[in-house]
């Protein structure tokens, strides 16, 4: 990426901003924002009203983005770490979310599928689902770190089996929870008009920021991702770092799975969190993180996650049916990935230089 090093003077400030990793997602966000402003300004309208429980809530496309983007942001945190450490992505997150959501419902409902009251405190259900999701993360981690299987193939196992396991946990029944306090976590806490998932996401961001600030996790992860054998020579344990990143992703999956089931108070095994692995990987890629591992920037990934949700909401506003969404997103992924390959970058750079020199000649 040492592109514009010899260029003195003129666009120095510009190139400095351009070279920041966080530039890519913010530029994409601005582009989308301007597109929506031109297309239909009412996209930005936020209305204040009351939901059917009589609580004050804000609604509108922007609030939607904040709401659903938060799930993605939490996943993006874990996915960034996995990408950086192992050089591959976990494609089982959607299936793992189905499992953890199913566990939450199973614990809350006990043996009855339509309980009048909750059979266990919500916090207990959440903690159990955390443990389960971390176990599945550990399963992926063991395959990747100790059996040295490519991450995407290793997680393919859980990708296939996950939804089946989720259905099996609840005997393929669809439990419904009627207790309103369960819905707060994926909806609104009475009296607060901002969706709760946003607060959960902020909490996760603060925790990961503190962890990165006060431990060596970030440094070690990057070291393992950049060069595994040299990090081993420096006394790190690469296998354990990779394993740890998958367990952390498991925790993130548990949180998002909990939000997901709380949103609907029920679960649909084949539909819940469908295609979310694509969005999570897209968020990491859009954040400018190299998908082959190494350096990472979690805040860029988080912004990337909100940009993806912005894109999804825009596509919905354009009346694209939800089944057809993946096709459009796939095109975006391909464009992004193609633009970030070294070969294309070099080519664009040369083109840019040629244009520059032509301009100078014309001026002269």
């Amino acid at each position: 990426m040492q592109t514009n090093t010899q260029k003195p003077g003129i666009g120095k400030v510009g190139t400095k901003i351009f070279r920041q990793q966080i530039f890519i997602p913010i530029a994409a966000l601005l582009l989308l924002a301007i597109f929506n402003l031109i297309r239909d300004p009412s996209f930005y309208k936020i209305t204040f009203g009351y939901n059917n429980l009589g609580d004050p809530v804000l609604s509108g496309s922007l609030i939607n983005i904040l709401d659903y983007g938060s799930e993605l942001a939490i996943l993006a945190i874990g996915m960034t770490l996995v990408t950086a450490a192992s050089g591959g992505q976990d494609i089982s997150v959607g299936a793992a979310m189905a499992i953890s959501g199913s566990v939450v419902l199973r614990v809350l409902c006990g043996t009855n599928t339509r309980p009048e009251t909750l059979q266990a405190p919500i916090i207990v259900a959440f903690l159990v689902s955390c443990v389960v999701a971390m176990l599945f993360g550990a399963f992926n981690g063991v395959l990747v770190a100790y059996f040295k299987i490519q991450p995407m193939v290793a997680t393919l196992i859980l990708f296939t089996a996950g939804r089946s396991i989720a259905a099996w946990i609840n005997n393929n029944e669809l439990p419904i929870i009627s207790d309103p306090s369960f819905g707060y976590w994926g909806g609104f806490i009475p009296g607060i008009p901002i969706p709760t998932p946003f607060f959960i996401a902020v909490a996760c961001m603060i925790i990961i920021a503190l962890v990165l600030r006060f431990t060596n996790l970030g440094l070690y992860t990057q070291a393992v991702g950049i060069n595994e054998s040299s990090s081993k020579l420096n006394g790190l344990n690469p296998a354990f770092i990779k394993f740890l990143s998958f367990v952390i992703l498991g925790l993130c999956v548990a949180v998002t799975g909990f939000i997901k089931v709380s949103r609907f108070s029920t679960i649909n095994y084949s539909v819940i969190a469908k295609d979310i692995e694509m969005d999570a990987i897209l968020a990491v890629a859009l954040g400018g993180n190299p998908l082959g591992g190494g350096k990472f920037n979690i805040s860029a990934s988080i912004i990337g996650a909100y940009v993806i949700q912005f894109l999804t909401t825009t596509l919905y506003a354009l009346k694209v049916p939800s089944d057809a969404l993946p096709a459009y997103k796939a095109v975006v992924v391909i464009i992004l990935v193609v633009l970030s390959t070294p070969i294309v970058r070099e080519w664009l750079n040369n083109l840019w230089k040629k244009m520059k020199s032509k301009q100078i000649k014309e001026v002269a």
């Binding site: 995407m152 193939v153 393919l156 990708f159 089946s164 694509m278 391909i334 990935v337």
Partner: protein, 349 residues
């Protein structure tokens, strides 16, 4: 391990150690398949003794055999392609729409199928080989694109009524001498569908290409070690490109065969087929890291996989989730076996 030690232990163990990677994994696969089939006969009763049971497995999985051949080729070259399921769904939907709404003839439908497969192969191959993007990312996007396009072409599933097509679909090829007597005492001929013939032809052609042509050997060379393949004067980029192109083409062929078997178009068709194809290739002894693999093994991989599915469904565990879990468990088992075998081999060298 020193030479003295290994020669002291003569016989089977020694031969096992001197086997090439390809043959070792192939042997494991074939043994597993026969053990499983014999186990099925012993525990599940006589249903599995009838030749028609075996032919039915072939009939239902002809498309999977074809796509798995392409998948094995890509994996031997060191890549992976998870778009095949999506391509199969897209092909069957496009052919269905063309045949039903536009009343077209079958040859054009075959051409459509091939064109779609080829287009996916060319684009993905170009991105992987010449722009050096991770194959998994490219084909993941390909898979989502294909699935999305399928629903854009048509949302609702429907059956094709085209007469010429239905006639082709109903065509049965009778296998002489392997029929059986049914409950009413009438002799019923054993049959296979046209798709099976296409699948077996594909297997034979791919086997010959990989074993006896120069291009075939260069697939192995590139998968084994990029650098040394380059030094041997092999065009690495073109080889990778070709592998994805052939895989895409075979996905198109497999799509048509699948369509011929089910006779309808639906966005949910072939869901999870990429997974089954990868699992079959891995069970068939193709190494994920590339350079090792055998098309004959892939055929046995598909057969093992579908046999276990048959066992699961005939054992009364007919709940939908068991199939997913058994396939995943089997895949997991074989991945671990591969990993262990390979690391042991490395150590003993």
């Amino acid at each position: 391990m020193s030479a003295n030690e290994s020669s002291a232990k003569s016989g089977l163990g020694d031969r096992f150690k001197n086997m090439t990677d390809t043959n070792l994994l192939l042997t494991i696969t074939i043994v597993v398949f026969f053990v499983m089939y014999i186990g099925a006969i012993v525990f599940q009763g006589k249903g599995f003794l009838k030749p028609q049971t075996f032919f039915n497995i072939l009939n239902a999985n002809a498309a999977l055999i074809i796509t798995s051949c392409g998948m094995s080729l890509v994996m031997i070259t060191g890549g992976i392609d998870i778009s095949v399921g999506g391509v199969v769904a897209l092909v069957s939907m496009c052919c269905a729409v063309y045949l039903d709404y536009h009343g077209g003839n079958i040859f054009v439908a075959v051409l459509i199928a091939l064109a779609i497969g080829l287009a996916f192969g060319i684009v993905q191959g170009f991105l992987v080989a010449y722009l050096d993007i991770q194959p998994f990312i490219v084909t993941l996007a390909g898979m989502f694109f294909a699935r999305g396009m399928t629903t854009i072409v048509n949302t609702a599933p429907f059956n094709v009524q085209n007469e010429a097509f239905v006639a082709l679909k109903e065509t049965r090829v009778i296998v002489p001498g392997l029929g059986s007597v049914n409950k009413n005492g009438v002799y019923v001929n054993a049959y296979i569908e046209i798709g099976v013939i296409v699948a077996l032809l594909t297997v034979i052609i791919m086997f010959c290409i990989l074993r006896w042509t120069k291009q075939g050997r260069s697939f192995y060379a590139v998968g084994g070690n990029n650098q040394s393949a380059l030094m041997l004067g092999i065009n690495v980029k073109r080889t990778k490109f070709l592998s994805h192109l052939i895989c895409g083409l075979l996905a198109g062929v497999g799509g048509f065969v699948y369509f011929l078997h089910v006779g309808s178009g639906s966005p949910s068709h072939a869901s999870g087929m990429e997974m089954n194809a990868i699992a079959s290739s891995i069970i068939g002894g193709t190494l994920l890291t590339g350079g090792v693999g055998n098309i004959a093994g892939t055929l046995f991989g598909v057969l093992s996989l579908s046999t276990i599915q048959n066992i699961v469904s005939s054992a009364g565990l007919d709940k939908a989730w068991w199939t997913g879990i058994t396939i995943a468990a089997m895949l997991c088992l074989f991945l671990v076996i591969q990993s262990i075998v390979m690391s042991r081999k490395k150590k003993s060298r």
